[in-house]
Symmetry: none
Subunit: 124 residues, 4 copies
């Protein structure tokens, strides 16, 4: 949890879960930690966790089953095969290493990616 970032905690939680699903760390059908477990581990308020879960349910990523827990929806999941994903990941890590040696910090790299993505869109 990054208190200084200006991003509300419930949204940070949403991003973390959503990214975990995107990266294949959480697969369809997996059960998420209980709201109370997250509270115990991270210190945020239970309502914050429940709000994040509920928003992700509306977004179609999670499925809440009364009395039994919160699960990753079957329809949600990685858009690409695991093999391709790890290869892309290695290439990116390589690039990160080079950029780091050139003196760029994390924010620089994120800015470069945003710019590259924006250029891709404008090409469309």
């Amino acid at each position: 949890m990054d208190r200084a970032g200006g991003m509300p905690p419930y949204r940070q939680l949403m991003l973390q879960v959503r990214d975990a699903v995107r990266l294949g760390w959480l697969k369809p059908g997996d059960r998420l930690p209980t709201a109370r477990e997250v509270v115990a581990a991270s210190g945020v308020n239970q309502h914050t966790v429940l709000k994040a879960y509920r928003e992700l349910e509306l977004a179609g990523v999670l499925e809440v089953r009364q009395g039994s827990g919160t699960f990753v929806k079957d329809s949600a999941g990685t858009s690409a095969g695991a093999g391709v994903l790890t290869e892309l990941q290695q290439q990116l890590e390589n690039w990160v290493r080079i950029a780091h040696q050139a003196g760029l910090d994390d924010e620089d790299m994120k800015a470069l990616l945003s710019a590259a993505l924006a250029r891709k869109v404008s090409k469309k």
Copy 2:
């Protein structure tokens, strides 16, 4: 301006300016558009623009000269040579193209980069 993102408008403005400086689109000494011009172009409240400029001044990125405008500070700027930057940029765009063809969307790529950066930190 992304109204639904949960990030306060003044912070979105800060990011845009800061990234423009990081990427070399704005260089030390460049004059930024007047608050009124930004209002006319984007529709946000003038206070929001002024708050973003003020925060960036405190962060050491901008310099406000009474009566003449807001400028990029001389000490601020890209941390790497322009040549290296464009090369990294091309490599990244290449990677983006491949990832796009593999079916990944923008958010997937941002998640991959975040994961790669987090792994780099843990290596330290």
Copy 3:
């Protein structure tokens, strides 16, 4: 507010606003009472009101403008002309009067309507 009905207060509020829009009592562009005004008038908690407004925003009925208030969305509105609506309304009131004289109470009539609607669907 009906405390005994088993329906959560925020949902009762949602229904009231939504029905007011359906019946033309609230038209697109109209400004809804402030959350604090509703609190003063009805005694429910401010969060309850805000949750109702927010859910109606997600449902596409309302539009929340930071700092200026909550408004009925332009795209939301009555599905039929006002003239037709008042005529249907008068016919219904007539029917209600007859049913009332026949000894039916409000719940009886709602049950009859539900049954009639269900039969319409099964005809489709």
Copy 4:
């Protein structure tokens, strides 16, 4: 069973049974399906069914006879003659057909009925 409606399942069951009695589909002395049968047919938890039956017994609508099942109480039943009821029913269906052709959906009609009933009360 409507999972998204916000109304607790046991209350939805209560309404269904009570309305069936109101409309004459269930008459005094009729035997209701066993809790297990309802479970098999609808998938809700057995406790939910039993709670609904128990509440309806307290409300004076049902009568539980140990070992033989659950029955509609003799004192419960339609408040009007069957003849009048079917006539009112036909008039309502007529109205529903007209309203449907005018572009109103089910929720619109329920809102109109609620408004008509509220106006009747205020006349008293």
